[in-house]
């Protein structure tokens, strides 16, 4: 057998040139799963509203490990302190079977079909057949017990793997790590106000799912939503209708480690502005919609908040794109809201699960508006379909060059500072500065 190869080393100290091997090295990817997805990070697994009643569950994943998100029974006296949401790994403690095969449902308990080991909703092993053996009669006609588990077998030691769970405003996060800091601290004070703005005090409604399999490294999706440079160039709808382009008032926010980010902007009227549209082939000066209901934007009161950076003044973004490392993107683009969950599948592929939601107090017109604007997003979206495509072509480019290529992320310099504009790749540099530290490369 060959000796394990040492990981590639990143030349230099910066994070503005990302080596292609960061996206293509299978051994490095296994380490990413251990250090990032199964390490000291909180991973999004779903929304509380997806499992409204006791026993409701749905499958999700943390890295490549499939987990079950389930609502447990909670004694009345604990209801003030226990949200009842549990996340357990979908792998039987007996022989390793991925026992739960229904993507969602309602259960009283979980039973592995192979040998009927039965678990409570919280993952505790409730019982198993023949634990105390089977009563029989021996050759001398005496009663005896055949088999059974050893006398020291303890049910308590053989439950499902339980993840730590944190619920924030209806978003459910889980981690295999015992050490990671509490969720709000993990997200940081720079990012929290932008989560509060969308979610705080609101009951969500589930509108549905879209799923796509993108043949690219998982980090490319995080980069895509930390990259304010491309939307006004790749996406005709954004530049033409003024939904996202470089002449808008914008802000790039990061947590202090550079791993999470928020891209904040306020739309303008679109149309020609030589500074940002001249020579931009995706800008279509004469484009008008045949049916304007596709972009029937109605401002919502919650868009306006006290500016976290300038207390006492108001700020009214029309779009906030939040990346929570390592696997969640939260989108508010005008009236369309979704979470997007990155589920890696090897170094060159990931599944991207979109969960669109609204608010319980939306009227019918607002729900219809959110659903119409969903035409912009997802695997077929007027805007987002091309993101998946360019991610695939990025991965293709990395693969053909091999070990010594690197990307160039130096728009706006090489530093990792927050900005009050969008003509920068600072958020990508911030993420890779953090990634280098975690991965030790």
């Amino acid at each position: 057998m060959n000796a394990p190869e040492t990981l590639s080393r990143w030349a230099g100290t910066g994070s503005s040139r990302v080596p292609f091997w960061a996206y293509t090295d299978a051994q490095l990817y296994r380490k990413e799963l251990e250090k990032i997805f199964y390490g000291r990070h909180w991973c999004y697994v779903g929304l509380e509203v997806e499992i409204p009643n006791v026993g409701d569950y749905r499958l999700s994943s943390v890295g490549e490990r499939q987990v079950i998100l389930v609502r447990d029974r909670v004694a009345p006296r604990d209801r003030g302190t226990d949200h009842g949401i549990r996340v357990v790994e979908n792998r039987c403690a007996h022989r390793g079977v991925r026992f739960c095969q229904q993507p969602h449902g309602t259960a009283r308990s979980f039973v592995c079909p192979y040998h009927q080991w039965t678990y409570k909703l919280n993952g505790d092993l409730a019982g198993l057949p023949f634990k105390d053996g089977v009563q029989a009669t021996d050759a001398q006609g005496q009663p005896c017990v055949n088999g059974g588990m050893p006398p020291d077998f303890d049910l308590k030691e053989h439950g499902l793997t339980k993840l730590r769970v944190a619920v924030l405003h209806g978003l459910v996060f889980a981690t295999f790590s015992e050490e990671v800091e509490p969720l709000e601290q993990y997200l940081g004070p720079q990012v929290m106000p932008w989560l509060d703005r969308i979610f705080q005090g609101r009951k969500l409604t589930l509108l549905g799912y879209n799923r796509q399999r993108i043949p690219g490294n998982w980090k490319l999706m995080m980069e895509n939503i930390k990259d304010p440079y491309h939307p006004g160039l790749l996406h005709t709808w954004f530049v033409t209708f003024g939904l996202w382009r470089a002449d808008q008032k914008s802000r790039m926010v990061m947590d202090e480690q550079g791993r999470h980010a928020v891209m904040i902007s306020r739309r303008n009227d679109g149309g020609a502005n030589d500074a940002v549209t001249q020579g931009v082939t995706s800008f279509k000066a004469d484009m008008a919609l045949n049916d304007t209901r596709l972009l029937d934007v109605v401002p919502e009161p919650w868009w306006k908040i006290d500016d976290p950076s300038n207390p006492g003044t108001e700020i009214t973004p029309t779009v906030t794109m939040i990346t929570l490392f390592p696997c969640l993107i939260i989108q508010q683009q005008v009236n369309s809201l979704s979470t997007r969950h990155i589920q890696p599948r090897g170094e060159g592929s990931f599944d991207f699960v979109w969960t669109h939601f609204g608010f319980a107090d939306d009227d019918e017109a607002m729900t219809r508006r959110r659903l119409r604007q969903a035409n912009l997003f997802g695997p077929a979206g007027f805007v987002s379909a091309d993101d998946g495509e360019v991610i695939q072509f990025s991965q293709d480019g990395f693969r053909q060059k091999g070990e010594d290529g690197e990307t160039l992320c130096e728009l706006g310099g090489t530093d990792t500072l927050a900005t009050e504009h969008m003509v920068t790749e600072t958020l990508i540099r911030g993420m890779y500065a953090y990634w280098r530290k975690v991965m030790g490369v």
Partner: protein, 170 residues
């Protein structure tokens, strides 16, 4: 034989066969327009206020309203055609639709409910063909002076994962 009726009383056999043939021809023409990339013709298969929806089976079965594509007029369909031909950047590909015979589910006046099963294959330049999207059309069809038109077509797809992107109509 022409007087024979179905147990449901849906009409004489020859009328039913004729109707099925008409719907099959509508579907064949629809598929040919897409596979031959005559996208400008695609909205013309619908009524002016016709609806076109592509929805994951998961959402359809659970009555979740989100769709992958949800268009509510020929105007929106034209906007989609402009998108797929002018604005959505994507790797080029061909489609090939294989459709089952239509199954007429019911008829109320001029409005016919039917469904047909489809498989769409995708072929990218220089690559092998792959199964791209599989599902069924659930249709409401109306007889007009210009022939049968779709009042609504819902493409409910079984495929749990979209293979990266879905650009052209199904």
């Amino acid at each position: 034989m022409s007087a024979a009726r179905t147990p449901e009383g849906a009409g004489p056999v020859d009328e039913r066969l004729l109707l099925q043939l008409e719907i099959d021809q509508l579907n064949a023409a629809y598929a040919a327009a897409l596979d031959e990339r005559r996208f400008d013709d695609w909205p013309l298969f619908f009524l002016e206020e016709g609806r076109y929806t592509v929805q994951a089976r998961e959402n359809f079965d659970r009555k979740l309203p989100l769709a992958l594509i949800a268009l509510e007029s020929r105007g929106m369909m034209r906007d989609r055609v402009y998108g797929i031909t002018q604005t959505i950047y994507h790797g080029p590909y061909y489609t090939r639709h294989l459709l089952s015979p239509a199954q007429v589910l019911g008829q109320e006046g001029e409005r016919i409910r039917s469904q047909a099963h489809y498989a769409v294959f995708r072929t990218k330049p220089g690559d092998a063909s792959e199964v791209y999207n599989v599902g069924r059309y659930i249709d409401e069809i109306v007889r007009t002076p210009a022939g049968l038109k779709l009042a609504s077509r819902t493409c409910v797809y079984d495929s749990e994962m979209v293979l990266n992107s879905l650009i052209y109509p199904i």
